[in-house]
Symmetry: C2
Subunit: 343 residues, 2 copies
């Protein structure tokens, strides 16, 4: 399964990022050979999506050592710490940098060239594993979707968010490669409009039949019998299956159940966080009111207005038909009903 859209690429000794802040207006790639520029790019959301950020951070460490020419572990640690702090809450970012540091410790390369070999190889391994993870999710998920089916998705869980074909959208691309005609409705996903800016653009680039809707249209579409499946990504999944994902996911899941439409969560098995017993344990980040009151720099609400802007909501396991992971399908709390995900 192949997609043209690539969020993160190694080009020789440089890191190439697809600048997501310029989408959907312009397709711009930036090549980086200085690690502080990559940190700045991560901060300004030029690359976003947990897997893609992790891959960019891993490459950033190799770029940093190449740039500084310093390969003593204390020197590398300074660079690593700066990269880790690019976005303090991004778990994949820390995880990727830690993995490269552990690899250096395990192999103890003795000169700059050997150090760079280790770093580039490990960064590429992280990238490749992510690509493979997406492909497996796509394979497992595609088995649930038939020719001519219509899929609704929310936010962006696509190639732009990963190092490969994406999770939720990876299922769509895999269906396409299997010769199935799939139609996608993309929620615009207020407040940050990832659906309009990123998912609609990405699917358009890939030649998928995509229709953009306001988030409030999904229920009416379901009532009109126009949606066959809902597939979303996940930011974190508690041990009991309760799922944190972009705000609006919970409503979609409830609407899907009311209309007897299967609701799938596509995410790597690593998204399950066994430290969280249920969704009640997952902290919900509140975002700045500006994200709601300003759109592309235009003020859309009165000054001084109170705003409630959670980044995520929790979808209880009972509303989820099936989890589509890289290790296989895992039934959700709705699986006992008419729709079984493991058949």
């Amino acid at each position: 399964v192949y997609v043209r859209v690539k969020s993160v690429q190694r080009i020789g000794d440089k890191l190439r990022l697809l600048d997501q802040t310029r989408l959907p207006h312009e397709l711009v790639y930036n090549d980086y050979d200085r690690y502080p520029d990559i940190i700045a790019a991560i901060k300004r959301l030029e690359v976003r999506g947990a897997p893609a950020i992790g891959i960019a951070a891993a490459y950033a460490l190799a770029v940093g050592v190449k740039q500084t020419g310093k390969y003593q572990s204390d020197d590398i640690r300074v660079v690593a710490n700066e990269i880790r702090q690019a976005r303090p809450t991004a778990v994949n970012l820390t995880w990727a940098v830690d993995r490269l540091m552990a690899r250096l410790e395990a192999t103890s390369p003795e000169n700059l060239a050997a150090t760079l070999d280790v770093l580039w190889a490990e960064a590429e391994a992280i990238h490749r594993e992510d690509r493979d993870m997406c492909l497996r999710i796509g394979q497992y998920g595609a088995a649930l979707i038939g020719d001519g089916d219509t899929v609704l998705t929310h936010c962006n869980a696509g190639a732009l968010a990963t190092g490969g074909i994406g999770t939720a959208l990876g299922v769509v691309y895999t269906c396409r490669d299997q010769g199935k005609r799939i139609r996608v409705y993309a929620d615009e996903t207020r407040p940050l409009l990832q659906g309009a800016r990123l998912t609609a653009w990405e699917l358009q680039q890939e030649g998928i039949d995509v229709t953009l809707i306001c988030d409030s249209v999904a229920g009416a579409l379901m009532a009109e019998d126009k949606i066959g499946h809902v597939i979303v990504g996940a930011d974190r999944i508690a041990a009991n299956g309760d799922t944190a994902n972009k705000i609006g996911t919970y409503s979609l899941a409830l609407l899907a159940m009311a209309h007897e439409i299967p609701f799938y969560v596509a995410a790597p098995a690593s998204t399950f966080d066994q430290a969280m017993e249920s969704g009640a344990d997952i902290p919900i980040e509140l975002r700045s009111p500006d994200e709601v009151t300003e759109v592309f720099g235009s003020r859309v609400a009165p000054e001084g207005i109170d705003v409630y802007c959670p980044a995520f909501d929790i979808t209880p396991n009972e509303l989820i038909t099936c989890f589509i992971t890289d290790t296989g399908l895992r039934p959700g709390g709705r699986a006992a009903g008419a729709v079984r995900c493991n058949e």
Copy 2:
């Protein structure tokens, strides 16, 4: 019950409109003594909301006859026809103009002054009746809401949409005047953001405790037990109670039922259209894709993207706890359950 926000006012021989296209950034009133300017103002949505448009149209006819100085029925008919066509689908507009013309026919005034007296008096009667209708809706509705309750609303069914205190928001203002502390969550209401631009502004002006949310947040708020009541307006109600209102209303009603939160439709009894047997008979207007892909002139989606943008959706009567009308409360299809609206 008094509100400071007035969408439409007669000032001597002029019509004063609160320019809703400038909200929430500026509070601008425009005074009109030429009827083509009022038609232009209606076209550009300087005044919106079916009742407010009807009142503006009625005053426009009086302004037009004053301006032209012509009072023969053929002359007046020319002006009336122009006004009727300001927004061809606005039922109240035609209704108001027809009512003034019928009044002229019934009274046959013999000179300009007498003609103007008839027109101004009838326009004021329409305005006064609308004001009274709002007050009655407020009274009936307020009986359902207790001190300290939290209300969620969608779009703008407030003073800005009517000649009085509004319908859904009229209930809130009436509660306030009864000494009840009410908290309101306002859906921003994509695509045209009437909730952010108008409802949030209007409630802020009136000193009501209001919090703005993205439409996709409502479900999560309900799950957090933060919503006591949902109150919305209506564009048209079929004989069986199925209700056409701003897109997103159906989803709210379904989410409210799932969370056992009462769902009220506040609208004049005249909104019931006996010619429509059920919601399936109500035509749904599709709006321009630009409303979704552009926000305040900024492009937010890729060029050439398909968009599905219905202006309204249909909420089945079974999801409605109660209709709050100017002739009293009328139970909806959900009234048989735990929540009874007529107690």
